[in-house]
Symmetry: C2
Subunit: 202 residues, 2 copies
């Protein structure tokens, strides 16, 4: 009901507190997973370190995995907004390359946090299923955005969903390639992957 702007305006104190709690739980989860490994961490521990009750933990996240991953609706909206706005001379695939690469790169702000996230999320094989599950959310958000950018109704054409799904798959393939000790460096491989796709795979 409140007119929450695109990213964030410090509206009520109540809202801010919820964000802080959410963030605290996510950070506690990341730290604990780094210390002991995903399997050895209990939701009670995470809740305790975050300073909330065990029950409140599940008011913020539907599962232990989700608490570690910690993707917020705001992030999704922000990526969607970035894709929705067309940039001159940039194809949808180009935009996706830029946005998805940005999700992985440690940003100027929160540099260490982003790096830590990446290290922990990609270093825990037990999280892989949950991560690809999370990709579905991202795919849906980006598909809607691309449809709007192209002036289409939802589901009108297969095109937007296909483009988004392929782009996400490309990034995921590069990550997987890296984890299996594959050749090359991540950033470079992603560039190469998008070039291959634009040129037409065989």
């Amino acid at each position: 009901m409140s007119t929450t702007s695109v990213t964030d305006d410090a509206c009520g104190l109540r809202e801010r507190k919820k964000r802080e709690t959410r963030r605290a739980i996510n950070l506690a989860a990341l730290d604990l997973v780094e210390e002991k490994g995903f399997a050895s961490v209990t939701t009670e521990e995470i809740a305790a370190r975050a300073g909330v009750s065990a029950r409140t933990f599940f008011n913020y996240f539907p599962s232990k995995e989700a608490a570690v991953i910690g993707t917020t609706a705001e992030e999704l909206e922000s990526y969607a907004a970035a894709l929705e706005e067309a940039v001159d001379g940039e194809s949808p695939l180009d935009s996706l390359r830029r946005i998805l690469a940005g999700m992985l790169a440690p940003a100027s702000v929160d540099r260490e946090l982003r790096a830590k996230r990446r290290r922990i999320l990609l270093g825990e094989p037990a999280l892989a299923p949950a991560l690809v599950g999370n990709n579905i959310r991202i795919e849906n958000a980006l598909t809607g955005a691309l449809e709007r950018r192209l002036g289409m109704r939802p589901g009108e054409s297969l095109g937007p969903r296909l483009t988004v799904a392929v782009a996400i798959a490309a990034v995921r393939a590069c990550i997987e390639h890296q984890q299996n000790g594959g050749s090359g460096r991540l950033e470079r491989n992603i560039d190469q992957a998008f070039d291959s796709i634009a040129a037409g795979l065989r």
Copy 2:
């Protein structure tokens, strides 16, 4: 029931019995999910209907989801073998189109079972995360096969993994498109998707 399936070498009696048990659990799981929905089915029920103890259930499948999905190592190997062998005039992407489409199409044998599987697996949103998780196994198997077909060492190049990941993503996008009430028919959309990819997405 004694008709051992197509790709089955009747080795020992012990081995055959394990296969039958595995299959019985999978079928029981499918039936029960169809009757009551995934969330309302317990692993004990599945075990009971399959005629094994609750504990034995977990000797065959690591989770409730896996029991419903029921992908066997033999299936994976069979798909991998199909991809590994090169066919004249068929690019890797073409082979993947043929093989992946074959996984979805109700085969001549087991027609009803395949149809039922498809109906139940795709009709249960709760299974979506597990299904994409399962895709990782398929991706790894197919990536290895394509690497061998191209005479590459594992991880030598990003190419094979990228091709496989994109192909799987294409099929998944078509399914998702269908489930969201999107336009067109599945078979046709898959063809169109692979054509788009071969032509180079933008």
